[in-house]
């Protein structure tokens, strides 16, 4: 039985890739519905019209393509580590988005946001360490 539950550098890179894809998917889906923010969905046929408009956006299709790729990456990750480790570690996209807007868009990061970033980082490190078998070496 393949019982290698430790998070290796390779798995961390895969988690990083899935995070980047996840961010990209969020961006695409938001873009695809942004044009119809005022649309009121009251009935089922409204919902159908809404979905039809969303699916006519190229962003929607780019997002769906990324979903297929993320499925392959994510399945590979899950074959190697616990779900309760993979999910929390995958949360570092919440750190990337503010940091990239700091570096590339020169946005200011508030004190509350910094404290949030550090909490996420501390949480990820805790979960990461909890996945490590004491007997086996680090990484």
């Amino acid at each position: 039985m393949p019982n290698k539950k430790n998070v290796t550098v390779k798995i961390l890179l895969l988690l990083l890739l899935s995070d980047i894809l996840e961010t990209f998917i969020h961006f695409c889906f938001k873009k695809s519905v942004l044009t119809q923010a005022d649309f009121m969905v009251r009935t089922l046929s409204d919902a159908f019209t809404f979905s039809k408009a969303a699916f006519s956006s190229p962003f929607m299709w780019a997002g769906l393509m990324a979903v297929a790729v993320i499925f392959i990456v994510w399945s590979t990750i899950l074959s190697k580590i616990d779900l309760s480790v993979a999910i929390p570690i995958a949360s570092f996209s919440y750190i990337f988005v503010p940091l990239t807007s700091l570096i590339f868009l020169h946005e200011k990061i508030s004190a509350l946001r910094w404290s949030g970033i550090f909490m996420i980082l501390a949480g990820v490190i805790l979960v990461f360490l909890s996945s490590h078998n004491k007997k086996s070496g680090f990484l």
Binding site: M1, P2, F29, K30, S32, V33, Q36, A37, F39, M40, V41, A47, F50, S51, A54, V67, F71, I72, W74, S75, T76, L78, S79, K80, D82, L83, S84, V85, I87, P88, S91, Y94, P98, S110, L112, R113, S115, G116, I117, F118, M119, I120, L121, A122, G123, V124, I125, L126, V127, F128, L129, S130, S131
Partner: protein, 126 residues
């Protein structure tokens, strides 16, 4: 006209629940395969085996469901608000992994998960 905020919260909760079911069924499908994935060729065979499993399709159906609800929520609510509420699925998945998948937890894993949720809320709210 404004949609009731409670209704939005309810929808985000349902979408989170769909996410939990998706991750659980996918993980349990992969666990049942017991396949050692190493190398690109093996990844291909592995994915073929995964998509042959009914549980993987259940995961797919719940992804679509979650996506549709989330799309609707995004068109109505602020992304930050949606993100911070959606972070509750971290805790739900941790509980479900422990109870259903029988994953062994140390205190540090619980603590880490809770810290992440608090962090996400702080990042989203500011």
């Amino acid at each position: 006209m404004k949609i009731n905020i409670l209704f939005i919260i309810f929808l985000i909760f349902i979408s989170s629940l769909c996410d939990v079911i998706r991750e659980l069924s996918l993980k349990s499908a992969i666990n049942s395969l017991n396949f050692n994935v190493d190398g690109i060729k093996k990844v291909f065979i592995f994915i073929m085996k995964v998509i042959a499993l009914p549980k993987a399709w259940m995961a797919f159906v719940f992804s679509i469901l979650s996506l549709l609800i989330y799309l609707f929520v995004l068109s109505k609510a602020d992304l930050n608000f949606a993100f911070s509420l959606d972070s509750m699925h971290y805790v739900l998945i941790a509980i479900a992994s422990h109870l259903i998948l029988k994953e062994k937890f140390e205190i540090s894993r619980w603590l880490g998960t809770i810290l992440i949720v608090l962090g996400i809320i702080a990042v989203s709210m500011s």
